[in-house]
């Protein structure tokens, strides 16, 4: 089939689209499937490479293979190779039949025209959190949904806070004071990630958005104050300068090793923390600028999309996706990987059953889609913002200068 599709790509160039479409239909017929009837085997692509996530995902895929009678050929690539892989598949017309991709990239991929809207398959989008539907929407059409979502929260070491007589912080002032008080010898008060990629942006956005800043104006006063706060934690010595090199796994390592009393991290790390018998941790929502505020975190999670690969495989992929989105399967995956169910009512029940997940469930309700506002422009702005965070933390630029430069770079 792949050999065929690359042939089609060449045909496309040589004979134009309509003829190529005919060739595509012929090719599909040659593959032993015809329009109308469903294919009995589909290909699936995801980036759950970590042991736990991969095992949990395999489990729900197996469940859905059983329920739908469709054989699922799974393929996993590392996160940073996901997009190149999709683009490669798009250009050679050899996209997998079902793809689970990071939610901010969906609009980029949808803009190519390679995806099919969910309305083609009668997959309903009501009862989901607005933010996840928005993340999967391009030009008014919904192209994908996620069986689970996630967000960031503040995780703290109960023993260390008790020993220092510190309450889990709720506001920025409390966080600053707590981080300073908890910093002792080789131990920092707080750990987070500020690497120069999407991960760094994603970790900064909860502070940026909770302070009322906006991605369309990176250098607003509110944005500058958010960056002053975050880089101030490092310059005060309450967080290590190494946050510039730590990805979120490194941050979790630091927390587990006792080198940080608190950390900003996602729910997917909970299982790992639970494995550490001597570690007693608690979870609270990300502290807000003022008391009583609601934090606005960025919405995380992988959205399932169905590329245009021919009616037969599309229908089967839709069946599998519907199964993955059904409440039971959704819950099994979310419990297995510590994600929050993307359906409101399912999530509320889920939070009651899993107390450590409750702060994440609370936050997801107000979480924001990273790409909803900017659409295809998001990746460029995100890159500029991550660079600005780094510049402020290294001290090579003031937060204000750094953000002004980011606004120029991202807005161009």
């Amino acid at each position: 089939m792949t050999a065929l599709s690359s042939t089609i790509a060449r045909l496309n160039k040589a004979i134009g689209r309509p003829a190529a479409a005919v060739a595509l239909v012929l090719a599909l017929a040659a593959c032993g499937s015809s329009g109308g009837s469903a294919a009995n085997s589909i290909t699936e692509l995801d980036y759950y490479t970590d042991q736990q996530g991969s095992a949990a995902w395999q489990k729900v895929l197996d469940t859905c293979a059983r329920q739908t009678g469709v054989t699922i050929q799974r393929q996993t690539v590392p996160t940073d190779q996901m997009l190149p892989k999709i683009l490669q598949g798009a250009s050679s017309r050899s996209l997998p039949n079902l793809v689970f991709t990071d939610n901010p990239t969906v609009q980029q991929i949808a803009s190519t025209g390679a995806l099919t809207p969910l309305s083609d398959y009668g997959i309903a989008t009501d009862s989901y959190y607005d933010s996840i539907v928005k993340a999967g929407t391009y030009q008014g059409k919904v192209y994908g949904l996620a069986p689970g979502v996630n967000g960031l929260a503040l995780l703290y070491n109960k023993d260390m806070l008790a020993e220092a007589g510190v309450e889990p912080p709720r506001t920025w002032d409390e966080l600053k004071a707590a981080a300073a008080k908890l910093t002792k010898g080789q131990r920092y008060g707080l750990a987070f990630s500020a690497i120069p990629s999407e991960e760094g942006t994603w970790q900064f956005l909860p502070f940026f958005w909770s302070n009322g800043a906006d991605l369309s104006t990176l250098d607003s006063d509110r944005a500058v104050r958010a960056l002053e706060f975050v880089s101030g934690l490092v310059s005060a010595g309450s967080a290590s300068k190494s946050v510039l090199n730590w990805n979120q796994n490194d941050v979790a390592d630091q927390f587990v090793a006792g080198n940080a009393a608190m950390m900003i991290n996602g729910s997917w790390n909970l299982a790992r923390l639970d494995d550490e018998k001597s570690l007693h941790y608690g979870v609270v929502p990300i502290p807000t600028p003022a008391a009583g505020g609601e934090p606005t975190v960025a919405l995380g999670g992988e959205i399932g999309v169905i590329p245009a690969t021919g009616q037969a495989t599309q229908q089967s992929a839709a069946k599998v996706l519907s199964c993955l989105l059904s409440p039971d399967v959704m819950q099994s995956w979310d419990a297995g990987h510590a994600y929050v169910p993307s359906k409101k009512d399912v999530a509320e029940k889920f939070g009651q059953q899993h107390p450590t997940m409750q702060p994440f469930v609370t936050e997801v309700a107000t979480a924001r889609s990273r790409s909803a506002e900017l659409g295809e422009r998001y990746p460029k702005v995100s890159q500029a913002l991550a660079t600005a965070v780094q510049a402020a933390i290294t001290g090579s630029q003031s937060p204000e200068q750094a953000l002004r430069q980011a606004q120029q770079a991202g807005g161009s």
Binding site: A9, K13, K241, S242, T394, Q397, Q408
Partner: protein, 289 residues
């Protein structure tokens, strides 16, 4: 079938290989760089012709100047030390002594390790608070160095890693070159009363020159396109401090989705590397230039 036709027939497989695996991507990259190539283009195949706009945009990007300068520093710094240390080790191992072959084999290790592994290990060694380098510095009473967390130190840190990776390559080639110098020349020099330094300056260095050329040129071409080492250790950060033309090209393509601009920077690199390649070919043709 004439001899000429036969010669061409023998050349064909190699020619085809070069065309398919080198010619096609090269031409494709050039075409990509003169068109507005977005994510959409991958699927639709439509990418409007924009001439040199991508080149102007990429070169006009504030990061470009920094990346170009970093590339020069990275290349010159890496090559100078790789070559210097490699040559010193090669001369050292040229004298036969017990265990010299074993030691030499051990020194190949950095070359054999996957770059991602070396990069990850060095990243941990450079760690601000718990890295072995800073721990050692503290032990001897020196202040810790902000290897990867300071915009001034990060580039030297990745250069240091790349030097460590590149030494074996220089050592092996130069050692081979030394082996090819007839021992009788050293005996004659010794009879004339030349000391060790004079023997190196007047016998080793001039006779090693062709190999030196080759090592330096290959080193340049390799170093200018180093990508994985930087990506693993700093990702081009902090704040673009270790962004070179290769990582910048990647960032333009896969972070900003400006594939045309990414291709344009790639072509600038190809052009520079080709320049060195021609110098290498010339030097290889005239063995004792």
């Amino acid at each position: 079938m004439s001899r000429r036709a036969a010669a061409i027939a023998f050349l064909l497989p190699a020619l085809l290989y070069v065309l398919v695996f080198f010619g096609y991507p090269l031409v494709y990259n050039i075409l990509m760089s003169v068109r507005d190539y977005s994510v959409r283009s991958f699927y639709t195949g439509e990418a409007p012709f924009v001439g040199v706009a991508n080149y102007l945009a990429a070169i006009g990007n504030p990061v470009f100047g920094k990346a170009a300068l970093n590339t020069v520093w990275f290349t010159v710094g890496s090559i100078a030390f790789q070559f210097g240390i490699g040559l010193a080790l090669a001369v050292f191992f040229n004298g036969r002594f017990l265990g010299s072959a074993t030691l030499r084999a051990l020194l190949l290790l950095p070359w054999l390790l996957p770059l991602v592994v070396s990069g990850a290990v060095w990243r941990w060694m450079f760690d601000q608070d718990h890295g072995v380098l800073n721990t050692a510095l503290r032990l001897v009473g020196l202040p810790a160095v902000p290897w990867l967390t300071d915009t001034g130190w990060a580039l030297p840190a990745v250069i240091l890693t790349n030097i460590w990776i590149g030494i074996p390559f220089n050592l092996v080639l130069l050692h081979g070159g030394l082996r090819a110098i007839p021992g009788s020349l050293y005996e004659a020099a010794a009879l004339d009363g030349a000391n060790a330094w004079q023997r190196f300056r007047d016998v080793t260095w001039p006779l090693l020159r062709p190999v030196t050329w080759i090592v330096l040129m290959l080193g340049l071409v390799y170093t200018i396109k180093v990508f994985d080492v930087i990506m693993v250790i700093t990702g081009g950060g902090p704040a673009n401090a270790t962004q070179t033309l290769t990582t910048f090209s990647y960032s333009l393509s896969f972070h900003d989705f400006a594939f045309g601009q990414g291709a344009a920077i790639g072509n600038v690199l190809i052009l520079v590397a080709t320049g060195f390649g021609f110098v290498y070919l010339r030097s290889a043709r005239e063995p004792l230039a």
